[in-house]
Amino acid sequence: MGLLLNAQYKFLDRYIFNAGIRGDGNSKFGPNNRYGLFPSASVRWRVSGEPFMQRAAKYIDDLSFRASYGVVGNAPRNDYSYLNMYQNYGFSYLGSSGVYPTNIELSDLRWEKVAQSNVGLTIVLLKNRLNMDLDVYRKRTTDLFYPGIAIPTYNGYSGVDMNVGTMDNQGWEFSLNYTPVRSQKLRVDFSFNISHNENIIREIDPLYPRENNGKITNNNVFKVYIQENNPFGSFYGFKYKGVYKDLNSTVALDENGSQIVGPNGQKVYMRFAYPSVDYVFQPGDAMYEDINHDGNIDYKDIVYLGNGNPNLTGGFGTAVTINGNIRFGANFSYRTGYQIINGTKINTTSMYGFNNQSTAVLRRWKTEGDITDIPRATYATGYNFLGSDRYVEDGSYLRLRSITLKYDFNKNMLKRLGIKALSANVMVENVLTFTKYTGQDPEVPVKLTAFSTVIDNSTTPPIKTITLGLTANF
């Protein structure tokens, strides 16, 4: 149930204000927190309309500053979750049906507030031939909901819904449109845009889990940690150094590179996860970097491997129109500054189960002295595909997304045929991709949460298509 009040005011054609306020009441909250008040405001200042900008009027068509701020409230998904409810056990004890309290009363559950603020600049120059827009935004979610956060079970319950913290989604966007040539015979357009977006946790309740599930000492696990004021997407793992080529190379080394010798003069061999797993590395096993030089590969040896959130995303393109009836266009899109975990490489080189493997396993380690980058085959055992930088690759790419060519037939010629308009077009999509990524397609969906990583499992890529079309109007 809500009430909304909105007002807009324009003054002198260059000051535009808009303000609104919304009051919401929701039965999903306890009586203390049922009502919320959500304001919003925006303003636009057309600087180019100011008297002091008159002289620049011939160069600058429009220069405006934009700013806006608004708050929206979110309610939890389930009704009645704030009430202390009693329900039946489902069976009776000695003929008397049992009733138990199912959940605790949430007197302190509050609205999740999302405050979006935006600052922007618009510049139009050269008689509307050059258009530029720049926006910087931040969407701050406070009192973030988390259903079922783990509480100590001596309270009788294992989870409770709570407001847990503050999260920002912020970034900037820039776009540009330029028409260098605009005449009857020829028109050329360029466009370009670039943007950056990231999610950052600002504040989080201490009960919120701090890392993703999964032990780094199990195969195929990358660790993700919640860190305040750090953007999502970073993941951690081991550093891969190749394969132990013989028994001598499995001896543990100290910081100076000399072999560690035990108290009785015996050689100390590299171990994995001593003392819980305590596996001694064999020749042919994957070699991981022993960061702290203690002869033991465990959670203390993991390092930052990369971040799955692209630094910059965008596209650019051009359109050329000749004589008004031949149109040519090309569009590119790109993403840079992020790392992908090549999940397909993990699955096809692990040699752990029955799955088909890639031909890379033909060059695996087989006898002592082999120098190669693929470890030995160990069916259902071993630690040869731990989460490490062996599978992490730069996912930056530049993709020629489409080329189009359109031809409009001459209207006079068509009149004789009784057709009002006729055009033919050819469109080629996903033409070319320039990338260093060795996997199938670097355009992996980036859907990051606090605990996820960007893993490429070679889902169906965008296909190259050629479309031919003919449009006729009668």
Binding site: M1, G2, L3, L4, L5, N6, A7, G23, G25, N26, S27, P31, R34, D79, Y80, L83, N84, M85, Y86, Q87, Y89, G90, F91, S92, Y93, L94, G95, S96, S97, G98, V99, Y100, P101, T102, I104, E105, L106, S107, D108, L109, A150, I151, P152, T153, Y154, N155, G156, Y157, S158, V160, M162, P206, L207, P209, S276
Partner: protein, 479 residues
């Protein structure tokens, strides 16, 4: 200007249709009865939607896995195998107390809100209210006693959690303090509990005065308070309501399969409620636990002369000699054999243990022989300790308990109780069982671990430590 909306304050105060809120509950004495039944129900199974094992499964595992009478079956999990090998870490998901605290919270809810019903319902008498409160007080004490035996130091929560503002971070309380609290609570419960509900099934399946006496006797014996233990045992024995049944083909059928026999003082009644959890644990093809070889060789030794004619009636019906599966809790799917919490033989043997420790060895031996006679125990398992030999008589009691309460979740606690007496004078009782079920490669490290007495208790599960910064782990598991 744009205006939209409508309002009414009361309209937002909606109540659910499929359950009742705390404000709508606690109005009549039938409400208290339903809540108390809810506490009993929580002993048999976790509430709908909660993903946890049943309390009885934890009672079985905590009481048997670390001892010498069960072994790993084909369906054993890696974590359970680690417990057999004395290799428990704080990430072991068996080491969880959530099921016990759930029941404790339900009992605390009754204790907090039931007294107020008296102001609303005039048909509720003080005796009836006190009877209900005694029931849940006894159940809560039994839960805390199990927690102390398993974890030793645990958080003590005596108030319910009904609001998010009730949530608190508690530190551990020492086992000794919790035991004192339990004794105080049970004394209160004894005053208010009924002696009978009018029906046999209810007398065995719900808490009566004698249930409270039985739990008190168990607690006093754990605390080495022998005279108090004897007082409680005698209260039960002299009531003459409980007696052993005679040996015969129907013994198992009466005492276990049907339940609610004259032998039972308190049981968790599955027969009229819901099936027990033991088919999956003990009977199905991928069972997790089987009887250990020790059971066949030492616990139920066959008679040397004529094993087909003279045999201990218990050995036959508790486990199957052919495949070592444990059949005590039923072989059918679903099985409804009740979980036996206390039987009269438990009281008799507890009394014998207290008597042995207080220089009344003759009487103790008499009790043991009374049980052996009734159970057709074979001469091969008879022992003849001297009446002055406390340790010898206690060893005999330990052996007889292994026969009487096989697979009832008592073995580990019996050994631990005897071993820790007099400052762990008899620690070798624990060391001796290692060779029965620990993998040979790990036996040496197990012996070393058992010498640290903190290792005799389970660690606090790691998720609990993360959620409550005031909880400190058992020092053995932080080494």
């Amino acid at each position: 200007m744009l205006v939209m909306g409508s309002s009414c304050k009361k309209w937002l105060d909606t109540q659910p249709r499929d359950g009742i809120t705390r404000q709508g509950f606690w109005k009549t004495k039938e409400d208290i009865q339903a809540a108390v039944s809810g506490c009993y129900a929580s002993l048999l199974a976790p509430p709908p939607g909660v993903n946890d094992k049943a309390l009885t499964e934890y009672l079985f595992m905590f009481g048997e896995m670390r001892a010498d009478m069960i072994d790993a079956g084909p369906g054993i999990t890696n974590e359970e195998k680690d417990i057999f090998d004395v290799n428990i870490v704080e990430s072991n998901s068996v080491s969880r107390w959530s099921a016990f605290y759930r029941t404790i919270n339900f009992c605390n809810t009754v204790l907090d809100y039931a007294p107020a019903v008296k102001d609303v319902d005039p048909t509720l008498s003080t005796e009836q209210l006190n009877a209900y409160l005694s029931e849940v007080l006894a159940l809560r004490s039994m839960m805390y006693f199990n927690l102390v035996k398993t974890f030793r130091d645990v958080p003590l929560k005596l108030t319910s959690t009904s609001k998010d503002t009730d949530l608190q971070d508690l530190p551990k309380t020492s086992g000794a303090d919790i035991l004192n609290q339990i004794v105080a609570d049970l004394k209160k419960a004894e005053a208010g509990a009924v002696t009978t509900y009018g029906s046999t099934v209810n007398d065995k399946g719900r808490v009566t005065k004698f249930t409270v006496n039985a739990i008190l006797a168990d607690v006093y014996l754990w605390m080495d308070n022998y005279s108090a233990c004897l007082t409680e045992c005698n209260k039960i024995i002299s009531s003459q309501r409980y007696a052993m049944q005679s040996a015969g083909s129907s013994w198992y059928f009466n005492v276990f399969y049907n339940g609610s026999s004259t032998e039972t003082i308190f049981e968790f009644n599955n027969s009229n409620s819901v099936n027990n959890v033991f088919y999956n644990l003990l009977i199905q093809a991928k069972k997790r636990f089987i009887a250990s070889a020790y059971v066949a060789s030492d616990v139920y030794m066959p008679d040397e002369v004529d094993p087909d004619r003279f045999y201990d009636i218990r050995g036959d019906v508790f486990y199957r000699n052919s495949d070592f599966s444990i059949v005590k809790w039923g072989t059918e799917n679903p099985s409804f054999v009740n979980w036996q919490a206390y039987r009269i033989t438990d009281i008799m043997l507890m009394k014998a243990e207290a008597l042995a420790q207080t220089n009344a060895g003759t009487e103790a031996l008499a009790l043991i022989n009374e049980i052996r006679l009734k159970r057709n125990a074979v001469t091969a398992t008879a022992q003849t300790p001297d009446v002055e030999d406390k340790d010898g008589i206690c060893d005999y009691i330990l052996a007889e308990r292994s026969r009487e309460f096989a697979f009832e979740g008592k073995r580990w606690f019996d050994i631990l109780r005897m071993a820790k007496r007099d400052n762990y004078r008899r620690l070798d009782l624990l060391i001796n069982i290692i060779s029965q079920t620990v993998s040979p490669a790990l036996q040496q490290s197990a012996i070393v671990k058992f010498r640290d007495i903190n290792s005799h208790y389970f660690p606090i599960y790691e998720a609990e430590l993360f959620a409550d910064p005031k909880l400190v782990q058992n020092p053995f598991y932080t080494k």
